[in-house]
Amino acid sequence: MMRRTHLVVAAVTIAAVLLPLASSNPAHLNLAILVLMAAQLGVAWNLLGGYAGQVSLGHAAFYGVGAYTSTLLLLNFGINPWLGMLAGGLVAAALSFAFGWSCFRLKGHYFAMATIAVVEIVQIVFTNWEYAGAAVGLTIPMNQRGWGAMVFADKQPYYLLALGLLLLTLATTWAVERSHVGYYLRAIKDEPDAARSIGIRIARYKQVALALSAFFTALGGSLYAQKELYIDPGSVLTTALSIKMALVSILGGVGTMFGPVIGAVVLTTIEELTRAAFGGSGRGTDTMIYAGLIVLIAVYYPSGLVGWWRERVRRVGNKRAAVIADAEAAA
């Protein structure tokens, strides 16, 4: 039963994701790219936030580190963005040890707030760091194009890149979910004391989840830099960005494989549609609608869309069982 739901979800997602390639409207393709990128970040965030239950509101730090590492390597050393992306992921994973070391001993709200502080510190550092372009930011030149340089004049290749990255992140999540790491993480999240008592090294497994999460978040950051060809602290190192990564997971359903993907589809579409419809007024109408929806979702669907659907399926199932039982009793 559960497995079939997964298959349906996967099929629907794949269909939704492939459709934009058939459309000739560049706006559709752009929306699809934004959805894929948001989904990838949500899936990466979910590795730590969903499976290990650590609510990080500081993931923009890893995203920014990824974007800045690949861009600085390219601009100053001429290093290929593909290698730069990998380097960015590794740097972020390495930095995640400092992040984990300083924040993991904190619980609940303390952890969340400490992670916000981390991003704000990193943002201040980059805003004042001349080598990294300071507040002005960094621009990637368009003189070299194609798959080797990861710079393209049209959007289609970015779509494929974002899709590939999302699938890679999903595959990693799938592998983690099925490995002993996944079981330990779930034990840590649900029963930390019991997990400790049977000898699970909590800190180590949380750190594994964090390093993986940081690595993939940074890859997303590098991809953003290659797509926009411009980064600055205000675009890749903000708490609002960290929150969005968490938000797509929460909307879809934390700790589920496809939850963040569904959340990204819904949230990004709403965000872009309201921006297109009301953004031109310059009066914040789009952000008001977006924020109003966030509040409604958080208040009425606390377990996310996947949770809501499962609950619905369960309730319909119960009702059916009750009807059958009634019929049998009558007969």
């Binding site: 609510v55 709200h109 914040g284 952000t287 966030i294 208040v299």
Partner: protein
């Protein structure tokens, strides 16, 4: 560096710190009674600023004069926000709570931008303008008035909590919700009260700031982060802790600015904040 500059900086740090404390008191109180972190707290401050701005611009009423009115308005707003939104998420997971108040934060900023435009506004020539020289230190009158006002409001809140029956009921709810309920204290009413007082305190801070700080829809962002730090350092739920931690954060911020340059003053506060959390995860003044 002369002693004069040092004293001057110290004084301005204490004065701004008193404002941070006032913002943080409401935040810590809300957390204390119902374990919810209000990300929209800076927006109460923003609303307080705009309320005093419009009362000044439309009716030429001075912010210092309209302070009680604005505080009442914000109190009502806090209570209504609780009744219509927050009440529904009391038992929701922490994540939904975070995102509800985060969504409210963006919503209120968007609303301010919608109704009052994103322009920077200011209140010119209020009753408190210019500066005075006290014991060799030059102090802006608006800052001084804000500091004194912040102490007065903080004292009122403290007196309410320690000397009135309602205040005792609020403290009892914070200490143990179930036990307080068994004693006949309506926790729903206490939660509404905490939101009202929290909003009123932040609103008061906004009014006090309005005479010398630019007024714009995102102004709350400058204060919420520092208020979080203050609440953490002072210990979640502790009003007295928030008061002293507020002053401490104000002083550290201006000292950091003096030593490393103003662009790093926030970073200094945040790094020290992380350092403190590492050694005392319960905060500087919090109980373990």
């Amino acid at each position: 560096m002369t002693a004069e500059i040092l004293l001057q900086t110290l004084a301005s740090g204490v004065l701004i710190g008193l404002i941070y404390a006032l913002v943080a008191i409401g935040l810590t109180m809300i957390f204390g009674v119902m374990d919810i972190v209000n990300f929209a707290h800076g927006e109460f401050l923003m609303l307080g600023m705009y309320a005093s701005f419009w009362l000044f611009a439309l009716f030429a009423l001075d912010p210092m004069l309209t302070l009680p009115l604005t505080v009442l308005m914000l109190f009502a707003f806090g209570v209504l926000l609780y009744k219509f939104v927050i009440r529904r998420i009391i038992d929701a997971p922490m994540l939904s709570q975070i995102f509800t108040t985060f969504g409210l934060m963006i919503l209120l900023r968007g609303a301010a931008q919608f109704f009052w435009k994103p322009d920077f506004r200011s209140i010119e020539n209020s009753w408190v303008s210019g500066s005075v020289k006290l014991a060799g230190i030059q102090l802006g009158k608006p800052q001084l008035a804000a500091g004194i006002g912040a102490i007065a409001v903080t004292w009122l809140v403290h007196a309410f909590l320690t000397r009135t029956k309602l205040g005792a009921a609020l403290e009892a709810t914070a200490a143990d919700k179930e036990a307080a309920q068994l004693m006949g204290i309506d926790s729903n009413r206490m939660f509404a009260l905490a939101w009202g007082i929290g909003a009123a305190c932040a609103g008061a801070a906004g009014v006090l700031l309005a005479t010398f700080f630019p007024i714009f829809p995102e102004v709350g962002a400058n204060f919420i982060l520092l208020a979080f730090v203050v609440v953490n350092l002072g210990g979640f739920g502790s009003v007295t802790g928030a008061f002293w931690a507020g002053i401490l954060v104000g002083v550290i911020e201006v000292m950091g600015g003096l030593l490393l340059g103003p662009q790093f003053k926030l970073a200094v506060v945040l790094v020290l904040f992380l350092a403190v959390l590492m050694f005392r995860p319960q905060g500087l003044m919090g109980k373990s």
